[in-house]
């Protein structure tokens, strides 16, 4: 038995296997030759009178789905706690964050978004937070903390709290396909797309529901139009 | 005197062991719905159904009619023959108390032999005194029609069968 030859063959086979496996793994996590498809799609967009002011994202990784509980804070608790908070001068963000921490709702998902200042009216400033999970923002979720004369006056929110993620990931559809799907829903309509982004979103439903305490959010393409309107196209393949 | 006594005793015994025929009016709140008037029941069971439209107590008795011939001798030696219909209860009468404005008393009497029967519904007042008596007579007889007559079409079964078989083979 010629062991040298056998060894060589074996080594080549193993290297070949490794190359194959590495290639497969990389291929899984990259876009799958959609570059040519994208050109086709851009052409179609032009035909349909759709203006794109942003690039169509290439990546659409596999993602988990999330389950959260709708935040509900007792109004009296907000009022009582607000009284004990220090007066903010310019550091509205800091005071708002402390406020949320005392309420027990400041965590890794609660991300500061912006502070809006007002001249006249009931409030001087509004500090807005967004909800981010697994690297994606949860659409239509916000917490706003309102200040008047440096004191916290109120809090408004629509927020999924205590988020749990699914044990497995699911493949998502590309932005291009999502865009096509949106366009096909309203044939002939003129649209100017100013944003396309992957988010988590709790789908609309025709079902009549009572008061909801917990719901599921799915990876969704949030397509923003020039009018400011946001359209949602589910990114999970069914 | 010596002759009369046994006869009197006999009459007394008969009286005590039988139900007397109606001596009171019928109760307007009592109606015997089954069996219907002047009907014949072809069965060995007799269903009695009494409708009571008042809260009161009734006692229901079903008695079989039998004829008794009594012979009595007068003092002067002439013999008189009297045929009396007497009624013997086939079961001890049951009482039923209605507490609503509408109730039914129903009872199935079993092993009823053919003959004439008298159904007596006595309405009982205070101290179980009979206030009203409602009666009905019914005849019980044996079923006449034979079983095999139900489906007879005038032809024997095998003949009809063969006829139908031929029909299915050769079409109609």
């Amino acid at each position: 038995m010629d062991w040298t030859k056998a060894k060589t063959i074996l080594i080549i086979a193993l290297i070949a296997t490794n190359v194959f496996l590495i290639y497969s793994l990389l291929d899984r996590h990259s876009d799958r030759g959609e570059m040519t498809n994208e050109e086709v799609i851009l052409q179609l967009m032009e035909q349909r009178n759709i203006e794109l002011e942003v690039d169509i994202p290439r990546l659409h990784p596999s993602l988990r789905i999330i389950q959260g509980e709708y935040l509900s804070v007792d109004r009296e608790e907000i009022a009582a706690l607000a009284q004990g908070m220090p007066t903010a001068t310019s550091d509205y963000e800091g005071v708002a964050e402390d406020f949320l921490e005392y309420l027990g709702i400041l965590d890794d998902e609660t991300v500061y978004e912006e502070t809006e200042l007002f001249e006249d009216g009931d409030i001087d400033a509004s500090v807005r937070f967004k909800n981010e999970v697994e690297g994606l923002q949860i659409a239509e979720n916000y917490i706003e903390v309102y200040f008047k004369d440096g004191r916290i006056t109120d809090m408004n929110y629509h927020w999924l709290d205590d988020v749990e993620v699914s044990p497995r990931k699911i493949e998502t559809m590309s932005a291009a396909v999502a865009l096509m799907s949106l366009v096909n829903q309203q044939p002939g309509a003129k649209m100017t797309i100013t944003g396309i982004e992957l988010v988590y979103w709790v789908p609309d439903t025709d079902m009549e529901l009572g008061e909801t305490v917990s719901d599921t959010a799915f990876p969704t393409w949030e397509i923003t139009l020039s009018s400011g309107e946001k359209k949602y196209v589910g990114a999970v393949q069914i | 005197m010596k002759r009369i006594l046994p006869v009197l005793a006999l009459v007394l015994v008969l009286v005590l062991s039988s139900v007397l025929v109606a001596f009171a009016d019928a109760d307007p709140y009592v109606s015997i719905v089954n069996p219907s008037a002047d009907s014949t029941v072809y069965s060995s069971n007799l269903l009695v159904s009494v409708k009571v439209t008042k809260a009161e107590t009734i006692s229901v008795a079903v008695a079989k009619e039998s004829t008794v011939v009594t012979t009595s001798a007068a003092v002067d030696g002439t013999i008189e023959t009297k045929t009396t219909k007497t009624y013997t209860n086939i079961e001890t009468p049951e009482s039923f108390t209605s507490t609503n404005t509408l109730s039914y008393y129903t009872k199935k009497f079993e092993n009823v032999t053919p003959g004439n029967y008298l159904i007596t519904v006595s309405t009982l007042g205070k101290d179980k005194k009979v206030v009203y008596t409602t009666t009905r007579t019914v005849k019980v007889a044996v079923k006449e029609t034979t079983e095999s007559a139900v489906f007879s079409t005038g032809q024997s079964g095998t003949f009809t069968f063969l006829q139908n078989l031929l029909k299915t083979i050769f079409g109609d």
Binding site: E171, L209 | K108
Partner: protein, 451 residues
Amino acid sequence: MTILLLYVFWADLELTRFSLSDIDLGFSDDDEERTVFVEDVAVPSYVIIGTGQGDYIVKSDVKPLYGSIEDPGSFVSSLLAFEQSDELFVEEISEEQYKEAYTYRSVRAVFDYLLPLGDYFKYKNVVGAAGVEEIKNLSEIGFSAAATDSLLVKDASQNKYFRVVSGAKSEWAESFFSGTDFDSEAVYYPISALLGEGVDLDLLLPMSMESDMTERDIYAGRDTEADAMQAKSFFGNTFDFVRKIEESGGKVIYMYGYGETVLILNEDGSVEYKSEAAGTQSVNYFEALDIALQFFDSHQPIVTGGGIEPGVKLEKVKTDNAGHGKYRFELGLETDGEDIFFKEGNPVIIEVSGGVVTYYYAERPIIEPKQDAGTNEVFSALNTIAANYQNIAAALGEDLSMEAVAQRLTSVKYGYYADGDRLVPVWQIGVKGLAKPLYFDLYTSEQYGLD
């Protein structure tokens, strides 16, 4: 390195596209795990024995008398054996002849639900007699001592009566009529006999009856801790990506896709499942029933505590033969042969379309075992109606006499009524013109379910 890569390759395996066919409905191929079969459920609603003397015996606990086809000495076997005997033909008879025959000693099985005869024979592997296609649906089937060489059949869907004539007399029927002692049972009479002239109705009522039924506890049977497990049995391996909505009242909704498949776990323990994916197989009545029962069986609630689960029986069947065949099976619950009635109607509804379950609703309560409390005389059915006839007339919106109300009766049964968390022994009375039956206490005649 290869091993490491191989590991990463397999571990990273994600779910890509999945279709509804991926939903594993959790059926076990192993029939031994099943507890409810077509044979258990496609049984008569009740069996009527005629003594030949004007009275009858009605048995709603049919299994002891009806038997099973495994037992050659049973009633059902005798029916099938009759059908399989040589030289059979079917002839139509008149309603009068049919009724006359049943004034003699007789025994018949009554099916209150739709039962297509053709499908029944296919299912039992019996070749029907010549002319049997005339009989569309089986409402009543039985023997009369008037002619033991005939099977008497009633098809209420066509309002027709038939007899299936054989060359020989049925041995089973002959021995049943001569050997059975009818005296020790509760006795039923037709209403026309009990109420006299003016009421022409064959409906049978028991005269006097003793019962050992007492109040019992009934539990909703939903263990919220087991919700996920329950849901998994409906969604299989797609469960991880199913939307879950929890309402403040305790109701939980699971939704696949955009609502193509929805599962609702209600606060009261009932379960509702809807799927828009109708199948494409053409199945007959019994195949559809088998599919429905398999589904019911494989989605048992999680039972906690020491209660017992009631059995099921067919109450009503609707079918629509357009397309691949749609069937709607409504099942009732029973315990030890005694019916359980629910105010809202039948507690289990299963729709099968094209061979696939497209709708499932089930209340699956747990019941306290029967206590041994001896027997008591019940408030007779007739007097229950007599005590309540004005209420019944009021429900009909008319001013009626007792006799007029009696003329409108469609059914009189007894069983348990689910009144909140208690089962109470009742009379169930069906009236023509009322969408739902009425319930009265079996021992006091007091009415239930008025709220």
